[in-house]
Amino acid sequence: MKTVRKLTPSKSADPTRKISLTVNGETVEREVSVRMLLSDFIRHELGLTGTHVGCEHGICGACTIIVNGESSRSCTILAVQSDGMDLRTIESVAEKGGCLHPIQQAFQDNHALQCGYCTPGMIMNIISEFESNSKIDTSEESIRELLSGNLCRCTGYANIVEAVRDAAERMGKN
């Protein structure tokens, strides 16, 4: 027997604030719950689901995005804190429908991803390193150090290390 469908409340009792920020070059204005995580805001309010969450306590790096030019974990930031900030997510990296970014291409060419869940966070972290340094030390040890904020459970990292080295070469950063 069909039962009467309950009415869903359109929002919770949480207080909200209006925020205005830039996301991938677009200005965004939204009313958000004061306790909403930035990761949830990006994923569920803005529909940019390329940013993933693996732990929501700042360890795995899956939620890494670039905030005002620096790689940051979006699960440890509240959406309201991002008011006025400039955010970049994985969706902004490749050209729309066009070529992959050299770092993305290096990931594919070196089989640096399996399930792909950690990949966007990895790439955002690597991009921010590449952008803030004119040269990248491509020794094994320092690439591993560079990657040491992002967990990957699938690859065992070897191919990711290779991809970073390859990307540095392609981008003339080695």
Binding site: C55, C60, L113, L147, C152, G156
Partner: protein, 798 residues
């Protein structure tokens, strides 16, 4: 034919999507109006529930429903025992929501559905549950004592299952032995920790009566069958889709977790889509784990090192419930003799209930424990007899001409006797000996010692029964408009690259580009015959099913193309997406062939004209399709393996111990493995490397810590140490390829291979490095700095 892609390093089809952030994992699926579920979980390992009061929680703004065992109707049941076996009496399984009793910390007691996860969690805190805690024993060895409190009153000494298996005549063989080596080894509990946690979303269409479930599972078709049967719905009204899944490693194979039933139920009842996305803590306390076993293993040998008999008794922690039966313990017990000829085996296990989260397979599934037991024992035997660790293995390895090597009396996890089909074990050992530099190692070790450093060489062999039945299927269709090839299979992927390896298999038969083969897997709406992804079986079972199907489609294509090109079938070749007349430039595209084989009434495009009723190539002297003929270029076929096919490999490592931090540093790591013919070496290496990293994790870092009250005290990534890139050493991987005689492609599974031998290898290396300290060494996993400290510091005191 086009260049063969089988065996080549083709890039993965799926990567660009993931790299752009366009993957769609369960939580990415846009379901307007979706409600969020969360759970009230037991804070006690064992307790009686005297009262549950949901009133305060229910009155919270934004809460839509709260479920307890009292309002879930036909879901208030003990869940099915998935793999029955005679050695379990009255096997216990969990209820979706606890009724009267709870059996582990984290067990689901109530489900809250609210407009978002934040509100749902708040409400969950307001659900008032009164518990009367009961005494518990979480220690595996103490749990089997008469004095231990019982998890289930039905099971004295907490024994869930007890099984003895015998091969040959161990009693007689033991009497003939000159020497016996006995050791006790222990492997701790761990967890899969896939980066995406478990997740499920459901939507019910009240008009069509169809339930759609998106489930981050390894077994979508099993989920579909289970849901249909529990909800008493037609199977065709339930569609289960495993979308992109962020790693599985076994944890996502068991069905049903409570959420997999309750979320669809809530969606049907509430009339809105509902989802449950497990958070990391819930993954630690609510999703199944594996590994804890304690083995007492004995090797009976002649004085020159030939092992005549093996005896092993082990305790296997099965957690509070045993829904997956004895699968893990059975794999461990039948893998216990490893790659050795040992003809006489007596192996017994007891699976033990403890008031902890349920145990089901995690990558390796009993093999790492068995490997650790036999390999540490072989090292000890070598030491006892004054032989080298290479020598003792060489003496006992199964020789190439002894295959198939049958262990009569041991029944593997597929219900068939253990029959190791093929391999080159001696060659693998020679290879690893050379690659690790075993010959020069003593000098290196000597020199390190003279500099006050501890350097050791570790070695371990493993075998792995892979590609278990019962069967999988493949469906292939060449699309009439685009000429692209659509392939379906019933099992699902969690990052292994099925889309690419299956595409390679098809591309080779049909002469198309790998990227023009499009795989749909794990969607019961696309293909609904099959089993699941587990036991390193996808490439073997689905791979061969797809291969057989591709051969049929190839045949159909050639027949039709020969007809269109007006030449004999043997004059047609398929390449570059076309059928060609050999040695000519005459050809017809596969799209056109696919169109022409579908007799049409209406010409919807240029190619379709050729298939309409008045076209010259159409049949004008009878029915357009003969009896038994089907339209299009399409086929379905299945592969059911005769038995498991056995892969194997050998690892060696040079380990340095740091005196100050008491840590183990991997100086060099070499592994040889053989998974039969490789479809794509790059993907194989990726699987091996990923497995190896999980092996390192379980050897040096990861352990689920459970306090005496049954609380997991490290249920987060701060305290449970999943390694970063800085903790995983570079590894040299070498391949041997002994084709499996058991399937047309000659392949064996590789998914679990990498992780199996790591613990034994590193322990062996550490024991060698610290040989001069006269203590039993490294017989348990994980190996912590304090264990190393204990070995070193005693000497310091002496």
């Amino acid at each position: 034919m086009s260049t063969r892609t089988f065996g080549t390093r083709v890039k993965r089809n799926i990567d660009p999507k993931f790299l752009r952030g366009e993957g769609s994992y369960v939580d990415d699926i846009d379901l307007p109006g979706v409600l969020h579920a969360t759970f009230v979980r037991s804070p006690f390992a064992r307790a009686k529930i005297s009262k549950i009061d949901v009133q305060d929680a229910l009155s919270m703004e934004g809460v839509m429903a709260i479920y307890t065992c009292d309002n879930i109707g036909k879901l208030d049941i003990e869940l099915p025992l998935l793999i029955p076996h005679d050695c379990m009496k009255d096997a216990r399984t969990q209820r979706p929501l606890a009724r009267d009793d709870v059996y582990y910390v984290g067990q689901t007691v109530a489900m809250v559905v609210a407009i978002n996860r934040y509100v749902a969690e708040d409400a969950a805190l307001l659900v008032d549950v009164d518990y009367e805690p009961l005494p518990v024993e979480v220690d595996l060895e103490k749990a089997v004592l008469d004095s231990a409190p019982l998890v289930h009153p039905t099971h004295p000494k907490n024994i869930a299952a007890d099984l003895v298996q015998v091969s040959g005549d161990p009693e007689a063989a033991m009497l003939k032995a000159d020497h016996v080596t006995k050791i006790r080894v222990e492997v701790e509990r761990s967890t899969a920790a896939s980066m995406e946690t478990r997740s499920v979303a459901a939507r019910y269409d009240r008009v069509s009566g169809e339930l759609t479930v998106w489930d981050g599972t390894q077994a979508p078709l099993t989920v579909r069958g289970g849901l249909a049967s529990i909800f008493e719905m037609d199977e065709d009204k339930v569609r289960v889709i495993a979308p992109d899944v962020g790693g599985g490693f076994g944890q996502k194979v068991m069905f049903p977790y409570p959420d997999e039933l309750l979320v669809p139920m809530a969606a049907m009842e509430l009339g809105y889509p509902v989802k449950f996305i497990e958070d990391r803590r819930e993954n630690f306390i609510g999703s199944n784990q594996e590994r804890k076993q304690i083995h007492d293993i004995e090797l009976y040998a002649t004085k020159d090192g030939e092992v005549l008999a093996l005896k092993d008794f082990f305790l296997h922690d099965t957690g509070a419930f045993i829904p997956y039966g004895i699968a893990i313990a059975q794999v461990a017990s039948t893998s216990i003799a490893g790659p050795y000829q040992i003809p006489n085996i007596h192996v017994q296990f007891q699976a033990v209930y403890t008031p902890t989260i349920t145990i089901t397979p995690y990558r390796g599934c009993g093999r790492p424990q068995a490997c650790f037991a036999i390999e540490r024992a072989m090292d000890q035997l070598a030491d006892d007899l004054g032989m080298s660790r290479f020598e003792i293995r060489r003496k006992n390895l199964i020789a190439d001409d002894q295959f198939p090597y049958v262990r009569e009396g041991l029944m593997f996890a597929d219900g068939l006797r253990v029959s190791m089909d093929s391999g080159q074990y001696q060659t693998a050992l020679d290879m690893v000996e050379e690659k690790i530099g075993a010959k020069d190692f003593p000098k290196l070790q000597e020199q390190a010692r003279s500099e006050g450093k501890h350097l050791g060489l570790g070695l371990a062999f493993y075998v792995e029964g892979t590609g278990l039945g019962p069967y999988e299927g493949g469906h292939i269709k060449i699309h009439p408009i685009t000429g692209k090839v659509y392939v379906n299979t019933g099992l699902s992927g969690q990052g292994q690259g099925h889309d690419t390896v299956f595409a390679q298999i098809v591309a080779d038969q049909l002469g198309v580009k790998v990227e023009d083969v499009i795989l749909t897997e794990g969607d019961s709406g696309a293909f609904d015959w099959g089993v699941a992804t587990f036991a390193s079986r996808a490439a073997v079972v689905s791979g061969n099913a797809i291969h057989k199907t591709a051969i049929i489609v190839r045949k159909k294509t050639i027949v039709a193309a020969a007809n269109m090109l007006e030449v004999g079938e043997d004059e047609v070749e398929l390449r570059d997406g076309h059928a060609w007349v050999v040695n000519s430039n005459r050809c017809v595209s596969l799209a056109a062939v696919a169109t022409a084989t579908n007799p049409l009434r209406y010409a919807f495009n240029e190619a379709a004209k050729a298939a309409t009723q008045f076209a010259p190539a159409s049949k004008h002297d009878g029915p357009a399709l003969d009896d038994g003929q089907s339209p299009g270029l399409e086929a379905t076929d299945y592969f059911s393996p005769a038995c498991a096919t056995w892969a194997y490999g050998v690892h060696a490592a040079i380990i340095e111990v740091d005196d100050v931090t008491c840590s183990a540093k991997v100086v060099k790591y070499v592994l040889i493995h053989d998974c039969g013919n490789m479809i794509n070496p790059t993907i194989v290496e990726g699987q091996v490397m990923g497995g190896l990293a999980q092996g390192i994790a379980g050897t040096l870092y990861e352990k689920i810590e459970i306090d005496e009250d049954g609380n997991i005290t490290n249920a987060n990534f701060v305290d449970f140490l999943v390694p970063y890139a800085t903790e995983i050493p570079p590894v040299e991987i070498y391949h041997l390829e002994t084709p499996s005689p058991l399937n047309p492609l000659g392949v064996k599974g590789v998914g679990e291979a990498g992780c199996i031998a790591v613990g034994a290898t590193i322990a062996s290396g550490l024991a060698d490095a610290l040989e001069k300290f006269n203590k039993p060494k490294f017989l348990s996993l994980p190996i912590t700095p304090s264990m190393i400290f204990d070995v070193i510091s005693d000497e310091a005191q002496n």
